[in-house]
Symmetry: D2
């Protein structure tokens, strides 16, 4: 049985964290496969991720939880998460989309193939394109609820969305073209992962493909990042690029970008579920 | 013997350009290896580049020039250039650099290896770091004049630079950390290729590596582009990227960036000399 | 309206081919967008591909065909093909698959999205895995016939396959794990495109992922190529790679490889349909 | 002060290795930055690499050595190495080259830039091309001895080479076109890193660029690997590729390959010096 543990420390004196942690695992008969520690040059902050295997008969899940909780408290960790993928429930997510459904369908397809370790609570869209296409059929076949919540300038349906996403572990914006308010972010209180179809911090806001096209770039990109109140400025998780030339039209920019968006979003979700991603400072992430 | 021809048309009716051009080449016993034509979707503009081989005994260089000049006038081409690398003098360039000499030395090394088809008129620097290092020794050994022109807020030495670069075919800014004035650009009147150590249009201006570092990007890049009066906003010729992670420091951002800058600048110069690069609209380039 | 023309010459004297060709197009009021010519250094062989636009009112399709046929005969071209994607019927293909259906489903999905310009005549499999999965549902929904033809050592069902693929323009082996006999290849007589899950010429034959795993490579690859009687030795069309490390298991080699196979096969089919691919010598391809 | 420790275990019971190791480091006031452990699925073998920082006043170098030696013996490690780059002497290497000097010069240039943490004991060549070129001047300027040892079918000068490389930590073959005998390998007894200009296991032996050219590949590559008695079959450390097309000639295959070889060899040497590379099974490497 394998597990992941992530710790986020704000103690000055980090001597001995890895020792205590591995001692704890060893004392339960477990084996560490990797420990990754990140200590920025300029700050007494400590981030770590461990991967280990153990025998669940010898180390029951709740004892494991208590052990790590004690460790975490001992080191005054601000945040500590442990997951045992084979024992713990999968992360539950909601996916929000708008008109473009390539990212949504890609997630669904990867999920079906068993490559995204999540349970999908529901799909929400503010656009009725899904009403009768292959995405909708897919959702029905797999019993995933679908909610059509059209927005208007005065009503972003945030209260209803909030109710629908209650109980999820995180939310994924798979090309949801509405800006979620600061109030929503606070009320939800958990992580929201967005895919932006531009190479941030270039091309924030609307129509990044057109912005890139007009700027005459030779590389286009996609960026997955955490949502923060400032538009398209949250900590970046993953970025990917593809080459474009003068032959590319705005249309082919869009096609190439969509391909990047799918990969970039899936990679971010997968890394997040494996406890590889930690926000770091205001704008950064550690991606172990 | 092989040649390149580039044409830049502004005629509406482009029917027959390729036919006339290839007929002309065939009538002199030449062979066309490729013709690349670019006509934007939304404008009656015509760009073309041809590669051909021919026997210089049967088609003397001056007749060739006249033939293509006639063609160009027939189609009212705004710009037309023909080069026969084995017969024509190499493009003559001046290289301007500042403190960081990695791009400069890389150019010199490629030049020595015969991989950059240019003659280097002189090297100009506003920083005395070259005074006694391996770049200087290289320049001396190869008889390339070196000019140290320190700038001050009130004196950018542009008049002296202008005199030194007279007679060159284009100028290369190999990490020259001074902004050339609009007056200088007009007075020189030919193309200037710059390397910017950021993925434009992100991170214009000073210290792009630090800007990128602070923005938490996962990919850093370099951009070679034509210089225009607006800082770091000229038409982009080439862009390259490399992956960075939370482990990267500002210092390793710089090291990785330098590696990209060298490749990106050399590629732009090489393409330019092979008549592959044409500015297109205000911000774009055709790179055949 | 746009068209593609491909010519494959074996005449020694190639002077004037491009001229005649572009003259022909211009005389009908057409515009050439690109002409790509390839003449190997060491042989008097001539390959060319042209892209052009024209007005079908002024140049009827059958006249266009005759014009190019005349041209082709004038130059004694061995092979000459012209396509006008918006007028001509799509290429008709049959797809053969075995147990692994990732390439097959990827093709179907791209086809549905309108990104593979083909009509799928039928899908043939020697494995009954498709009997009741999402691929089968997809085929039914779109009315694509599915044939289950299990093979045995003594009976490769080639006669039945031959009948099913009659009338197609080319055949795609989307991880079909049977070797087609030389007799079959001759009887079919047209191109067959295969995807091999190894970086040919390494790892021919069975289980290339395991071969690569055992060889300790740091890059795995996929190769799309034309089928010839010699196993996995036909002219290569496209190759792609991905990085692997000591952490990768045989299982993750397979997952990474599958991702490459899908892209590599789709790219080959798309290029083939756009008349970009020509076999060249015994083992090579020109891919314009 | 930072250090690296690498351990290679053959004990069945690995429980507690990371705990003991990190406890040891913590007890001396050190901090672990990363521990990477690799345990193959199918064998009770244990490989680990740790990076840590410590105060050399509190943990003298010889105590550190003894501490880790004890640890290593406690776990019956087959191989254990610890390095403190700022305190320990640099790895001493000899470089062997033949006619092509691009890899050799690239190593020398990186070494001069401080990017290869080695001392170069001497350069040996069986070809006199270096006699009077820029490599030779470089060697003289930096006081690196150069030995010209021309080989003949009957005399590979291995005895003289052996004497010259005595005292080095490892040997680098920077395109040395002679096969070192099994006797030589045994007599030297340490690691030898070779660069092969093909994507192994394709294209072993002579002229891999020509082999690749004739095979019609669309990607060419380079491979750095450990030398074993079997030609070009030792454990692979690093591989890199670049795209080629029908336009590429044998000559341009060579130019592109040379660029890959330089990067691939430098990367292997750098990783080796940072204790990231461990041979693993007969044909594989762990590259942490």
């Amino acid at each position: 049985m394998g597990g992941f543990l992530i710790l986020n420390e704000y103690e000055q004196d980090t001597v001995g964290i890895v020792a205590r942690l591995s001692e704890c695992i060893a004392s339960r008969g477990g084996n560490i496969h990797s420990v990754d520690v990140f200590v920025p040059d300029d700050k007494p902050v400590f981030y770590s991720r461990s991967e280990f295997t153990y025998n669940p008969m010898l180390w029951p899940r709740d004892v494991l939880r208590t052990d790590f909780l004690n460790l975490s408290q001992h080191f005054s960790a601000q945040r500590s998460t442990v997951r045992v993928p084979d024992l713990d429930p999968k992360y539950k997510i909601s996916v929000l989309a708008s008109k473009q459904d390539h990212c949504l369908f890609d997630l669904l397809y990867r999920w079906q193939e068993g490559r995204l370790p999540v349970d999908i609570n529901c799909v929400i869209s503010n656009h009725d394109r899904l009403k009768d296409n292959h995405v909708r059929r897919f959702l029905e076949r797999h019993g995933i609820p679908y909610h059509y919540l059209p927005t208007s300038p005065g009503n972003k349906r945030e209260q209803e969305i909030l109710e629908l996403v209650q109980g999820t572990d995180f939310v994924v914006l798979a090309r949801y073209m509405q800006i979620l308010s600061e109030g929503f972010l606070k009320a939800y209180g958990k992580d929201i992962i967005n895919i932006h179809h531009g190479l941030l911090p270039s091309f924030k806001g609307g129509n990044p493909s057109r912005q890139a096209f007009n700027a005459g770039v030779k590389l286009i990109g996609a960026t997955s990042h955490f949502v923060t109140p400032e538009l398209d400025a949250g900590p970046i998780i993953e970025q990917m690029v593809e080459r474009v030339s003068h032959r590319d039209t705005l249309q082919s920019f869009v096609v190439k970008s969509e391909n990047l968006e799918k990969q970039c979003l899936a990679e971010a979700i997968k890394s997040y579920c494996e406890l590889r991603v930690l926000p770091y400072e205001l704008k950064k992430t550690v991606v172990f």
